[in-house]
Amino acid sequence: MKFLAYLVSGISLGSIYAIIALGYTMVYGIAKMLNFAHGDVIMVGGYVSFLAASNLGLPPLVSVLIAMCVCTLLGIVIEALAYRPLRSAPKLAVLITAIGVSYLLQNTALLTFGANPKAYTPVVSGTLQLFDGQLSISYISLLTVACCIVIMIALTLFTAKTRMGKAMRACSEDKGAAQLMGINVNRTISLTFAIGSALAAVAGALLCSFSPTLMPTTGSMPGIKAFTAAVFGGIGSIPGAFLGGILLGVIEALAKAYISTQLSNSIVFAVLIIILLVRPAGLLGKHTQEKV
């Protein structure tokens, strides 16, 4: 029964990683860049929903929606100001810019909200008791897993069925050819950032509901872990991000429970290294064929 409890907590933690990883993987798939500021957008989402709920007294759902709007806008602005001018620059320049944006967001939050952690009120509270109270699952866990599944299905349908979703896939494969179809590549990349950042806001609210302390660095570690999850599952692949996130969460939870709390992060990354040695493209990654 204990094992089951650990598994459940791993799956719900993994669901948060998966939601964040989806943002990383979609942006990478289309813009071919690693947006290291993605983790800090989570933190911004956390602060916005925190302020909306505690200062304005809005209900949790409304504050999360506001956070989603703010983060969507933030994602679009970051892309337009920081990344778009570097579209044909070397990849390293874009990467360094992303790290710069990450620090900019963290330090702006530090300046605005201070270094003291804020106590975040979970969006839902309470637990579900199962098997005569032997297994208790918090409602926030259930909500997280449900959100993750809904988001995953919605994104899969969006990219498979809709006109803009197909345009995203076209851009991810060949931007030049996509332009020749009449697709506005800049607008498509903007849309990708918008979706990724909206998801980051959801992840921010869920993350802070799990561990209710909110600081300017709140997004860093989950951001890096979610990036790891995206690579683990195969960067650029939506189901890969989902699978990678869940597995990462479960490995982390089990390592914490059975091996060592201090070593859990090391174990997670060790597993990642082993997987990448065997499957360099990640679990569901495609080996890209170079065009002749």
Binding site: A170, Q179, L180, M181, G182, K286
Partner: protein
């Protein structure tokens, strides 16, 4: 005048790939641009569709200057470009590729447009659910052309449609080009297969190291001594 290019100069970094090229395409014509590898033919087409930019010079399409228009806007004006190497979306199905071809026609009847393309390319209909990357080279060329036709272009630019195809497929591709032309599409064809290209062209231009060196009707050029020597193995 459907398309008029004047004094195009295109650079890849320090390399001057297209040097003062001017030419025109009239409505209803098949015009071909022939020349050897590296002469600047593909670069010229990329400049017309907006993927590359000319330093100075003018490009007019249907009496509208498009020299600084974004590529996705140029498609909307009715200029479609089937690029060299086909560049189909290999991870998408045949049908999805065609959907992308009709991207600019937001509210159009996709099914009807697809049926029209399938009539021209029955092979694509058989394979509509197949992942495009698994098609044979000939089928991929058909798909690239069919995809461009989904936008119902006024001018279709084809870059080396015969490249890498078996002789029988080359014939097929040229038959289709002639049929499209008969159905009213104006065509600008870039080819290394000069013999085939000249046989169907109303007019032709010869490009050499970034410059247009000869022009005339298809027949004139096919008969000219220089072209015979350089491109037709005569």
């Amino acid at each position: 005048m459907m398309l008029k290019a004047e004094d195009l100069n295109v650079y890849y970094g320090p390399i001057h790939a297209v040097k003062g090229v001017s030419f025109e395409v009239r409505e209803g014509e098949i015009v071909t641009l022939i020349g050897s590898n590296g002469a600047g033919k593909s670069t010229t087409l990329k400049t017309l569709s907006g993927l590359m930019r000319s330093r100075g010079g003018r490009i007019e399409f249907m009496d509208k200057s498009i020299a600084s228009t974004a590529p996705h806007k140029i498609v909307e004006l009715g200029l479609a470009h089937v690029p060299e190497g086909r560049r189909i979306f290999t991870r998408m199905t045949v049908e999805e590729n065609l959907d992308m071809g009709a991207f600019i026609k937001k509210n159009a009847d996709l099914e009807q447009d697809k049926e029209r393309v399938f009539e021209q390319f029955p092979r694509l209909k058989e394979r509509r659910k197949q992942i495009a990357g698994t098609l044979s080279g000939g089928e991929q060329q058909m798909l690239a052309m069919g995809r461009a036709l989904m936008s119902q272009p006024k001018l279709l630019m084809l870059d080396e449609p015969s490249m890498g195809l078996a002789p029988i497929l080359v014939e097929q591709v040229f038959d289709i080009i002639t049929a499209l032309h008969k159905a009213g599409t104006t065509i600008l064809l870039v080819e290394q297969n000069a013999e085939m290209a000249l046989s169907i062209a109303d007019r032709a231009y010869v490009m050499e190291t970034g410059r247009i060196t000869l022009s005339g009707t298809g027949e004139e050029l096919a008969a000219s001594e220089e072209v015979q020597k350089a491109y037709l193995g005569g």
